[in-house]
Amino acid sequence: MEKTNTNFNRRAFLKASAIAGGGLMLHFSALAKFGLAERGIDNAAEWHELTGYIKITPDNAIKIICPNPEFGQNVMTSLPMMVAEELDVDWKKVVVEMGPHDNTKLGPQFTGGSNSMRMYWKPLRQAGAAARNMLMQAAAQSWAVPIEEITTKAGEIYHEKSGKKGVYGDFATKASAIPVPKDVKVKDVKTFNVVRHSQKNVEGAKIVSGKPLFGLDYKHEGMLIAMPVHPPAFGMKLKSFDASQALKMPGIKDVFTIKLFEDGFELGGFDTRTFNVILAVVGKTTWEVMQARRKLIVEWEPAGDTKDTMQGHGGKREVIVPGELESTEKQMEKMREYAAKPAQVLRKDGDPETAFKNAAQVIERTYNAPFLAHNCMEPMNFFAHVTDDKALLVGPLQAPGWTEPTLSKVLKLSPDKIEIQMTRMGGGFGRRAYGHYLVEAALISKQAKAPVKLIYSREDDATYGIYRPMYTATYRAALDANKNLIAFHVKGGGIPENAVHQNRFPAGAIDNYLAEGWEIASNITIGAFRAPRSNFAAAAEQSFLDELAEAMGKDPIDFRLELLKRAKENPVGKNNEYDADRYAGVIKLVKEKSGWNGPEQKQFHRGVAAYFCHNSYAAHVVDMTTKDGQPYVERVFSAIDCGIVINPDAATNMVQGAVVDGIGNSLYGGLTHKDGVVVQNNFHSYRIIRMHEAPKKVEVHFVQNDIDPTGLGEPPFPPVFGAVANALYKSTGKRYYQQPFSSPQPEIPNV
């Protein structure tokens, strides 16, 4: 049995209380370290209080509260599993409930960044172990025996010596009065009964029987429906509107404008909103509101350059939001222009300039990728009931803690007067971390003086923004006369930010290394999209490494392993953000499981790629064939290292889904702009991968180790793009530099 490590400071304590009618309710207040490795979030020393609920009734009903909202990675199953394991209960008897928003008791409650397992691993195990200990103490007291003689098994308590036994429920009330132990042993990870065993999705039955689960399904008495009308283009704003016809339509209550933020409001990182003033149409039913919207006469005008005030570490700062109505061709032109200018140096090892000057051969390639829309299946929506003294908000949201402070300021209500309940989300992908639609729903409810559910249509949602940025990156490699790699250079840019991760592989493996970045400001809003930045960087870098390997006459896997060997044995520079052994581990595993060079693989066009992001490692071999004249990914082999795999089947589902998502986005995904208008505003033109395009097989393998779990929502996704590009090369003889790969490719590789 391990003791927990000193992740908890001296203020760690457990609070227990009795539930009315008897029983034990445990809140666990502890300080646990969580770190988000992404840029902009303090990696080092942010401590947050975490609480998990365990409710046990005298009837031995066990309820475990899930702190994090669900959008498909099955945190609602995996997180309670951790508690149940240490608590030692029969998983089949556990009831799981989604927790309310309560950052004091339940911790950060942020689902995203592939962080749920990592963040809650220790605290939730602690909660389960402590509760079990208290129940054992209660039994020991009741039976007047030493606690060392008490054992448990699946919710039952035994004193083997005397043959006494009972169930947890028998002791729950008594346990709630026991002081909480400070130093609790947790189980040896090799002895798990619940965790590391596949458990079914706790909401599975509700999903397949159509129970109300999602934000869009939420109902409240007296609830009205509201839909937004936002400008048709980035860079436009409302000039005037005539609602006289709309107001005459059946079921319509009101039409008005709302202004999200007053001038000078300091925006936080997740307060991103594309349009600060929008129209709202409020009515009784959804269809009536949809019909009334069509009768609005609205005039829009260019907004020109505007100013936003951003919160910042060193104090607030003002940013100019350019007023240009952008078009894709012009964006591409501008990117080419900026790519030729000097950029910010992000990392330099050795002397890359000299190495390139003296190189026998320089290979240079440029990669491009478009804006991507999240297009979660459930469009944006949220319910709000705001009165003068309080607010209730219910709906799909990834991080209530990041929007509540904003609501507090906008509604002028203290946070304790604001209640946010999280429903299940029909997809998140990062989009639902940005709570503008809560602010909108709240303001609409306030103005309408009624409970209101705000619903976005697919067009409203797809054209609203908060996209994955438009990216480009130019890679250069210098080879000497013996085809050794002597220098590596990446210069990445984007609208409005670049995707360069300067401390990731192959940094650390090459003596002369230069990473630079630049950006172009834009009014097109962007946000986190499943592995932000990585989702492009992996594609470009892994394609480039493939081309480099070919130029050097090496097998692409051997080439990567050589570099990783160098990074392990004799690393270059500091802050290399990956474990070379674990990185090599997934590459070796995928090589083995895919039968990399075996003769029976000759019928496929194979591409390989690997990547590290969000603390986990992933490698894929993509096998392509041709179907109906089109390239088709027929099978994929995936190797993942995410430490301890909490729920193996659910984890496999995640990887398979990420593979399908990666194939779809790399081949088909993307949107274009014309004078600020998003061209692809629904699924007839924004192409999402469908059943017939999905592979026949995605075989997933996890590296078996006992490392504390890291995430899985994002890490498998980015390298899929690179593997697909590399498979396409084998399939067509051409290299692919422009995403989506189904679009016209640049004629010649540049230089």
Partner: protein
């Protein structure tokens, strides 16, 4: 037909009469090669009735017919494969609904599931018609990829045109699905001429011998 002869810019008026005479002779020669058995049967006798058949008018009319039949509103449901086409650019219909045996689609993607008796209001929604379907698998009536000659011959062949005789062919101009091309739903372009103009061209083509162009 070699239209160079009809190019007024190239030949002065004095040459017109001899050219027209040449033309008529060419036409006679042409008819010997382009008439098929069905045309003769439709004509009802063995001789070529030059007065009732006007191949010039017929072929000119067919040029117009061809532009309509090859436009998106018609051709999209006469694809060369087993998936209907969609849009002015004739891309494969999203979600790849299949023809099936009877042309009415398969399983959860039968045409009439989404294509209802009338157009669905709004942009990018399914257009409608009570009889929405593709030609059946055993008589696929492909337009896509057909040259004018191929299409003309196919259209008048009862073994390829849904067993239509001349009477039914003439009536077909007013068929419900044909008319639907001119009521395609919001946001879709119309065929290159009005239905009235199309019908006139269709009838002219048929009534003047239903000639097939040389190519």
């Amino acid at each position: 037909m070699n239209t160079k002869f009809l190019n007024r810019a190239r030949y002065s008026r004095s040459l017109r009469t001899p050219i027209v005479i040449c033309l008529l002779c060419c036409v006679v020669a042409f008819m010997a090669f382009t008439l098929n058995d069905n045309n003769l049967k439709a004509a009802g006798n063995k001789a070529l009735p030059l007065i009732e058949k006007d191949s010039i008018a017929s072929l000119k009319a067919f040029n117009q017919v061809y532009t309509v039949l090859m436009s998106a509103r018609c051709m999209n449901c006469h694809p060369s494969g087993n998936v209907p086409l969609q849009g002015d650019d004739n891309h494969l219909h999203t979600m790849l609904p299949k023809r099936g045996q009877d042309g009415k689609g398969l399983y959860a993607l039968k045409c009439a599931n989404c294509h209802q008796p009338t157009n669905t209001p709004g942009l990018h929604t399914p257009p409608g018609n009570p009889n929405w379907h593709l030609p059946p698998a055993n008589m696929r009536m492909v337009f896509q990829g057909r040259t004018p000659r191929q299409l003309a011959k196919q259209l008048i062949d009862p073994n390829q045109n849904g067993h239509k005789d001349m009477k039914k062919l003439i009536e077909h101009a007013d068929d419900g699905l044909v008319l639907a091309a001119w009521n395609p739903g919001e946001g879709r372009t119309l065929p290159p001429m009005s239905h009235a103009a199309f019908k006139k061209a269709w009838l002219t083509w048929l009534n003047n011998g239903a000639y097939a162009p040389a190519k």
